[in-house]
């Protein structure tokens, strides 16, 4: 019953998953809009801090090689308290997974499929994620590998197309630091650090399955820096083409920016390319959170996660619709409640509390095994 399948992904697949995970929701809702024309600076600062945070997560994983977040929690806090904290993480992962899915559903129903019920989009998307996870982590990793060249190329091309369309206004980026550093730092913590960078805490469930675990820290930090650079690139495009004020008011800024593209009066309506990028990003993000939740349930309930893929996915499809009555309510909850009361405890406080306990317990275990060895 508790027999586990050994699955491995390569370092490249890990990097691909991390990159698309980071781009996912950011491409939908945009980040740093409150800091107006300085949003790209805020993203830059958050990227550096985010890289540090990811290094810390991998450092924790290195203390107990081969064990994931849930196993580490049990190791640190004991069987029962560990299971309770693990269950809270499961709820957190699944709840965020439903939120991310809802982001995408809102985008699709308001931009492309205006007459299609949001429920249909939700069920379809979660069905894809469920199927991919049912096939396993390796299939998930390979799917990422197949799509990453398109995602990367499309993002770069969108920027160039806006530049050549003449919609790129450098003056929209001025004045730089007009309100000083204060608003930027205020925005970086907690909002920008926790979303999207802190959400990488979910990868504490995936990183132990990487084939070259020793190099995971370097690859993770490098990937965060690259994805941060791409987010800065996207933010600069949004500010330069829409202007800070319009960007603040727009629900889907990158999509609105892509709509400005008109090359040779022939290449137009390329916003669908952005939808493709977003769709793949969201599939990855929902799947990673779902996988995190399922792995947690596997650990807590002592049952292979494949038995739970379909039922739990169907719950996510349902919760994504019930989570809020409309998009405005959804965004409001995402700004007022989630960063402070959900992201900070699960992304920062619990891992920080866990660190000294983990180091102490590992040292104790080593001392004990050394003593046994010398006898």
């Amino acid at each position: 019953m508790s027999k586990k399948l050994v699955e491995n992904i390569s370092l490249w697949q890990l990097a691909v998953l991390m990159f698309t995970f980071e781009i996912g929701s950011v491409a939908v809702v945009g980040v740093g809009t409150d800091t107006k024309q300085d949003a790209w600076i805020a993203v830059g600062v958050a990227t550096v801090l985010g890289a540090g945070l990811v290094w810390f997560y991998v450092y924790l994983l290195k203390q107990l090689p081969g064990r994931n977040l849930f196993e580490m929690i049990t190791f640190c806090f004991g069987k029962w308290l560990g299971k309770i904290i693990g269950l809270l993480y499961v709820y957190y992962f699944l709840y965020i997974s439903a939120r991310v899915l809802r982001d995408f559903c809102e985008l699709i129903t308001s931009v492309i499929f205006e007459n299609t019920p949001i429920e249909v989009i939700s069920i379809t998307m979660v069905g894809i994620c469920a199927y991919m996870l049912y096939l396993g982590l390796e299939v998930f990793g390979r799917t990422g590998e197949v799509f990453i060249p398109y995602v990367f190329t499309f993002i770069i091309l969108i920027g160039l197309a806006i530049l050549f369309s003449g919609e790129f206004q450098m003056k929209n980026l001025l004045p730089i630091l007009g309100d000083g550093l204060g608003p930027i730092l205020k925005h970086v913590f907690p909002r920008l650090l926790t979303f999207p960078f802190g959400e990488l805490v979910t990868f504490m469930v995936i990183i132990p399955y990487v084939s070259h675990f020793a190099k995971a820290a370097k690859v993770s930090v490098f990937t965060v820096l690259i994805s941060g650079f791409i987010i800065i690139y996207g933010t600069v495009i949004e500010i330069a083409s829409l202007g800070a004020r319009q960007m603040e008011r727009t629900v889907f800024p990158l999509l609105s920016a892509a709509r400005e593209i008109s090359l040779l009066e022939f290449i137009e309506r390329v916003d669908l390319v952005i939808v493709f990028v977003v769709m793949f990003g969201i599939i990855t993000k929902v799947s990673v959170f779902l996988f995190g939740g399922l792995k947690g349930l596997e650990h807590i309930m002592n049952i292979p996660y494949r038995y739970l893929v379909f039922p739990v996915s169907m719950i996510i499809g349902y919760i994504a619709i019930q989570i809020s009555a409309n998009n405005a309510e959804h965004i409001e909850e995402g700004i007022r409640f989630i960063p402070l009361y959900m992201h900070i405890p699960f992304q920062i406080i619990i891992p920080i509390l866990m660190a000294p306990l983990l180091i102490w317990k590992v040292k104790k275990q080593k001392r004990r095994s050394d003593a046994n060895g010398s006898r």
Partner: protein, 83 residues
């Protein structure tokens, strides 16, 4: 009897996750919109006119039926292994 109950782990997990997430949504709504718990819960289960919430309710129900079927499969497998 107790053993049989313990085997229904998928259905139990489904119920636990489903009710837990709904409770979480209700609590968040209570906190943000300053409404009573009863109001938030009744809002969750109210079917809006013209909306197609029936679709997602049907899929959630399908998930529940699947979990019962999974438990039955696990039990059958265990029994065949024992005999």
């Amino acid at each position: 009897m107790l053993k049989n109950r313990m085997i229904r782990v998928v259905t139990f997990t489904f119920t636990m996750i489903f009710s837990g997430l709904l409770l979480m949504i209700a609590l968040i709504d209570m906190f943000i919109w300053q409404q009573s718990f009863y109001q938030c819960v009744s809002k969750l289960f109210a079917l809006d006119e013209g909306a197609n919430e029936g679709y997602v309710i049907a899929t959630a129900a399908a998930g529940f039926i699947y979990s019962i079927a999974s438990d039955y499969r696990i039990r059958k497998k265990k029994r065949s292994q024992q005999s």
